[in-house]
């Protein structure tokens, strides 16, 4: 039986057991009019039985499907002739792959010989048996669980508390998925980064001024010794982020001030959705815009006043990134300004302040922590932004503060290091993980600071 069918069947059993559980709870107290005698509402007894019916069976199903391939592979390998079993780990892995492919009818990369065919047949046989066994056990477990729970229904059974307990654990499980994923990502990046730092010293990575990640593949190659000083990448990232913030913070802040304090409701109703459209444009489209429109325009403008401008410049990428971040800054600043109690506004106006005095002397200082938090979040967004800089900032790791030069960023280098066929044990590839780790640490710090600033601010007025 397919596992999807099995899950559907279990779900159906859960629905049925809900119905039976609910009916029994009512029957025990003699009908709906005697409801209050029950500890919980009748529905909770239904859920109680349904949970006992479905949860153990589903748990078994999950464990089974997780363990099944490993056990079956071990069994199949055991049956192989001695000559195959003595193969090295890598070759054995390939062989198992071939057996599995043969069993499922996929392309096989080696000659199909007799033992291989036998193994594939026995593999299929084990799968078949395993699935039958799984269906039988899980359905009977569901039936058993449901029946036991059904029998345990008493008026004094605290069904609501038990159901809520289960729901609570489900909520905890759901919320821990995101946290566990984050931990998993950090760990995977961390271990690869540690491997990188075994090849390249941490001090060279952090303080080296030369970034040229081409390493020699063969010993006789020349000119590609590889050098992993990440400082040019960090300065490039900082330069572009700085330009982006230079655009986004004033424009976003003034947009927020206008929308929150000066605009009529009608203009606000038009402008806010438009800003949200700006936030919804895919970054790759911003990348086109930067590379094909803004960068040539900046170069032409620069040349007409006698400046040397690279066709891919930090300025183009930074400007477009700034435009991309405007909606983020303006909406966070708008929230912060709107969170200032209107009593504050009235107080300032009541003392005879003009609107601009009210804004600059009272509302902005009151909203400042929220605005700062929003800007920090925007900075971490800019640092992590990839697509625009890949398309518009260039690949040359120049150590420069000149916005007209081509620079490269941490994210761009990660992309170029990992695009295409790579060997996963060279320093070149592993460098991507070290860069990723750095990026992660920096944006994490900024986010933590930003969010704690925002939180502190909220406590002040609510």
């Amino acid at each position: 039986m397919q596992s999807a069918t099995l899950i559907l069947l279990l779900a159906f059993m859960a629905v049925v057991s809900f119905y039976f559980g609910r009916r029994r709870s009512l029957a025990i107290v003699g009908g709906p009019s005697h409801g209050p005698v029950l500890h919980s509402l009748p529905g909770y007894y239904g859920y109680y039985v349904a949970i006992w019916c479905a949860l153990p069976a589903l748990a078994l199903l999950a464990v089974w499907l997780f363990a099944e391939p490993r056990i079956i592979v071990a069994l199949v390998v055991n049956e192989l002739p001695e000559s195959y079993r003595s193969l090295s780990a890598g070759e054995l892995n390939l062989l198992i792959n071939n057996i599995q492919n043969l069993a499922s009818g996929d392309v096989v990369s080696s000659d199909i010989d007799r033992p291989l065919q036998d193994a594939a047949a026995s593999f299929n046989g084990y799968i078949e048996k395993s699935r039958q066994l799984l269906a039988a056990i899980s359905i009977s477990l569901a039936g058993l669980g449901g029946a036991l729970a059904w029998r345990r229904i008493r008026p004094e059974l605290r069904a609501r508390n038990r159901v809520e307990q289960v729901i609570r654990w489900m909520l905890i499980a759901a919320s821990s998925i995101a946290i566990l994923t984050t931990v998993g990502i950090v760990l995977s990046v961390l271990f690869e980064a540690i491997r990188f730092f075994q090849k390249v010293p941490l001090t060279e990575f952090l303080f080296g001024l030369n970034w040229s990640p081409q390493t020699a593949i063969r010993a006789d190659q020349v000119g590609s010794s590889g050098s992993f000083g990440a400082v040019p990448l960090f300065t490039g990232t900082l330069l572009i982020t700085g330009i982006a913030m230079f655009v986004a913070v004033p424009v976003g802040l003034m947009t927020a001030i206008y929308l929150a304090e000066y605009s009529s409701r009608r203009i606000r109703g038009i402008a806010k959705p438009l800003l949200e459209v700006l936030a919804g444009i895919p970054t790759v489209v911003y990348g086109f815009f930067a590379a094909l429109t803004v960068a040539p325009w900046i170069r032409n403008a620069g040349e007409s006043v006698g400046l040397t401008v690279a066709s891919e410049s930090a300025l183009a990428a930074g400007l477009v990134m700034g435009i991309m971040i405007i909606p983020l800054v303006s909406s966070l600043a708008d929230d912060a300004i709107n969170a200032v109690p209107s009593a504050m506004r009235d107080g300032a106006l009541g003392l005879g302040s003009t609107r601009s005095e009210t804004m600059t002397k009272v509302i902005l200082p009151a909203a400042l922590p929220g605005i700062v938090g929003g800007v920090l979040l925007a900075v971490s967004r800019a640092i992590g932004e990839t697509m625009i800089v890949v398309m518009a900032a260039g690949l040359a790791a120049n150590l420069t503060a000149n916005p007209f030069a081509a620079v490269t960023t941490v994210t761009v280098q990660i992309v170029t290091l990992l695009v295409g066929d790579q060997e996963f044990d060279s320093a070149k590839t592993l460098a991507a993980f070290a860069l990723g780790l750095m990026l992660f640490v920096v944006t994490l710090c900024l986010n933590v600071i930003g969010l704690s600033v925002v939180r502190k601010y909220r406590e002040q007025y609510d």
Partner: protein, 308 residues
Amino acid sequence: MTMTAMTETSTDNPEPIPAPVTGSSKEVPVSREIVLPAYPGQHTELGEKTVGNVTCDNPFMIAEDVNVYYGDNHAIQHVSLEIGKKQVIALIGPSGCGKSTFLRCLNRMNDTIETARVTGLITLDGEDIYRKEQDPVALRARVGMVFQKPNPFPKSIYDNVAYGPRIHGLAVDRAELDNIVFSSLERAGLLKEVKDRLDEPGTSLSGGQQQRLCIARTIAVNPEVILMDEPCSALDPIATARIEDLMDELSEDYAIVIVTHSMQQAARVSKRVAYFHLGLLVEVDETNKIFTNPQHKLTEDYITGRIG
């Protein structure tokens, strides 16, 4: 009697309005006859007359036939009232009766509400405050306001009081500013409590102290009229008593208009009382007259606790 219609859209750019033809307080009708219906819901738009005496000796602010609309809602209907110099007048009435709305007309705070529209004539010291040349910002410096909830700015105690003098350029140097801040705190009865902690944030004070700080902030601008919108409703009885004492002292210099839900408070602090009901000014008179011998049934019902 002249009706001056006007629409306010922007604080800084008031719409042009026709100048009042008459501005004299003598034309305000006195002691109108009782024609109000005896229960709410029966009001018609016109023809309601205020009972008692809307005039006073030495009037400083005069409202004539004031109407306020919030969109289509006629929130204040044909209200005429005189506010005397150096006198406390209390506006009482059930929630939603328009007393706060009327208060906010007196310093044009209703301008900040997009849908609000004010018609009629309000004069301050003989000048129409809704006239075209009147800058609402300058008006609010003359007619200060204290709000229901203490709303100190997120600044130090000193800067809270110094805020008004600074934006209006009332002090030429630091010494003069210090002088204004200290005297305002002194008059608000707060100086003793805060003189060692002027650099602490205004929000670090207790609720009653915050409200006195707001009063100090208001009088630092040296206004002529102080509007108070339920200034004690968020305070405990001890803090309330202090604010009431303060009002008594301040009334020696300022005209004070206070909105209150507490009839005891109205009786304690005010010289005159105006009773509002569903946007209408029902009765105005000397405080002791209102509380001992109300003329209108609605007023009597309210002060005896039958409505409200």
